[in-house]
């Protein structure tokens, strides 16, 4: 029999707050981090979910003396610190970092690569601050990285390679990423509207998130969620467009449910990807219907946080667990009118609910998809 693996602690740093409770309260009030920001010189502002740098520095200075960190590194350190204070790091503790672009902003106007743009250097720098003893593992799998990072921790612990793991995920808003998505004409002209008829694209967001995952529970935990199953299946269809048939997402969910050994009707809540592009949301609706999951309450967090790339999967997993602990479903912000060819049960207002089984999904460039199933214990 395989070891059971649990998430027993988490934290996040977002425009809505620098800990989970402030984020949760903001979400209950329906606040969004998305606003107009001037990101690229000589260009119109973009809607994006951006952390106030002054506030970030203020928070950072309370906890850290050393100032030799990039903005993203400060976000990472702030998200991880409370977890490291509560859970001991041993030589069987894994450190897993999920990101798409890391410190890519440092590449601007450079003639050679600065060391800090290497993702392994970024991870090692964070690891050294907290004294991790094992080599950092960086997961960089586009927009599904944050979900896969949980799966990597679960699988490596089950394989007996580690006893526990700290998983962090983060990406920051950069001219690099904004200009790129803009060149795809994928950026929405207002606050994004996942699954809505009038959706017109994504908002880029930034955040860091951290979770503690372990095979050994103790008495002091306030909560625990068992990671029941995971899968990450490629569409094998197109590198920049989602599959029309939702094959990869469908198969990812199916495999994760099979490993979790539960029936689809058991799923109490789906924390979906919902980027608010025409094709992504349509693809998801098709995949969920193929899985007979069209009646499960579902939301996308992108209307609150934008698309935080490598951080989104982990951040949204945390919010979904917080939802389960508070017995409250959070609405999919800005959804008004059905905008997919197949029906979905999109949550429209805060509502009480008993949530035991959570399905978290994500999809991204390169045709990648990922799904995990969590159980509230």
């Amino acid at each position: 029999m395989r070891k059971e693996v649990y998430i027993t602690d988490y934290n996040c740093v977002t425009p809505l707050g620098f800990d989970v409770s402030s984020n949760w309260n903001a979400l209950l009030e329906g606040k969004s981090g998305v606003a107009l920001h001037k990101i690229i010189e000589n260009q119109e502002p973009f809607y994006a979910s951006m952390i106030d740098s002054e506030k970030l520095n203020e928070e950072f200075n309370k906890d850290f003396d050393n100032q030799n960190f990039t903005r993203l590194e400060k976000m990472f350190l702030l998200s991880l610190k409370p977890l490291v204070e509560k859970h001991q790091i041993s030589d069987e503790t894994a450190f897993i970092l999920s990101t798409t672009k890391g410190n890519i902003s440092l590449l601007k106007n450079q003639k050679t690569l600065p060391e800090s743009v290497f993702l392994s250097s970024l991870a090692q720098k964070i690891a050294d601050i907290f004294g991790f003893k094992t080599k950092p593992i960086v997961v960089s799998n586009a927009c599904v990285s944050g979900v896969i990072a949980i799966a990597v921790a679960k699988n490596m612990i089950q394989a007996g390679k580690y006893k526990d793991a700290f998983v962090i995920a983060g990406d920051e808003i950069s001219e690099f990423v904004i200009s790129g998505f803009n060149s795809f004409q994928a950026i929405g002209k207002e606050i994004c509207k996942p699954y809505d008829k009038n959706r017109d694209g994504i908002n880029i967001g930034e955040a860091t998130a951290a979770v503690y995952i372990t095979s050994e529970r103790n008495q002091n935990e306030k909560f625990s969620f068992k990671v029941l199953g995971d899968s990450a299946i490629n569409d094998a269809n197109h590198i920049s467009g989602p599959s029309r048939t939702g094959d990869g997402l469908f198969a990812s969910i199916k495999n994760a449910m099979t490993e979790a050994n539960i029936q689809t009707e058991k799923i109490d809540f789906i924390s979906a990807h919902g980027t608010a592009t025409i094709y992504n949301d349509e693809m998801e609706a098709i995949a969920f219907n193929r899985m007979q999951l069209q009646n499960a309450p579902l939301n996308s967090m992108k209307g609150y946080y934008g698309h935080c790339l490598g951080a989104s999967g982990l951040l949204e997993s945390i919010i979904s667990m917080e939802s389960a602990l508070n017995n409250t479903l959070i609405p999919s912000k800005n959804f008004e009118e059905t905008g997919t060819s197949q029906p979905l049960n999109i949550i429209k207002e805060n509502q009480p609910a008993e949530i035991k089984y959570i399905l978290k999904t994500a999809s991204g460039f390169g045709g990648c998809n990922a799904a995990i199933v969590l159980e509230k214990c």
């Binding site: 290497f118 960089s140 060149s183 795809f184 299946i233 490993e259 390169g366 045709g367």
Partner: protein, 182 residues
């Protein structure tokens, strides 16, 4: 490690492709793009999408092509890693947005600014709707890749894993790709 079999190994470095200890292709050139073009021609790969790929994808694709051939890989997972992520293309993309006067971000370049795109390219070529993961590590760590792959095999999520290190930055490259089964 128990019961794990490494069935095929392909390495690409110094303008040379070696498959299971046999030299498949070798040409004296310093330049990766020329090398890739020559391989494509000489092995008659006949896959026009190849020419649109960035160099990291070309490297990963060529190494995988030697091993996957035309066999059925509908149950073969892909687990890849490297050190430089997609920095080769990141750097080129950044140059296209460095100056206000010369501001030409291209979606065709931007899409390759993620290291897992090479895994997507291999999946598309061989219609592999299978488990995939991309890791960035400071050095080639075969033990880690094997550990991760073996648990995929043991979980029953795949029958084989195409595993590998695909590192490329400018003219410095090397691929070490192999097939694992239980």
């Amino acid at each position: 490690m128990k019961m794990m079999k490494k069935t095929d190994i392909c390495t690409i470095e110094n303008s040379k492709i070696v498959l299971n200890n046999n030299i498949i292709f070798e040409i004296p050139t310093e330049n990766f793009s020329d090398f890739a073009k020559e391989v494509y021609k000489s092995l008659a790969l006949n896959y026009p999408k190849f020419h649109k790929m960035d160099n990291l994808s070309k490297l990963a694709f060529l190494a995988s092509e030697m091993i996957l051939k035309d066999e059925d890989h509908s149950r073969t997972a892909l687990v890849f890693a490297n050190r430089s992520s997609s920095l080769d293309t990141d750097f080129k993309y950044q140059e296209s947005i460095n100056s206000q006067e010369n501001y030409f971000p291209s979606p065709a370049v931007f899409v390759y600014t993620l290291p897992n795109i090479c895994v997507g390219e291999i999946s598309i070529k061989h219609k592999m709707q299978t488990e995939n993961a991309f890791f960035v590590l400071d050095e080639f760590d075969e033990q880690f890749l094997n550990d991760y792959s073996v648990q995929i095999l043991q979980s029953g999520k795949a029958d084989k894993v195409l595993c590998g290190w695909v590192e490329l930055y400018q003219e410095s490259y090397n691929a070490f790709v192999y097939l694992l089964t239980l």
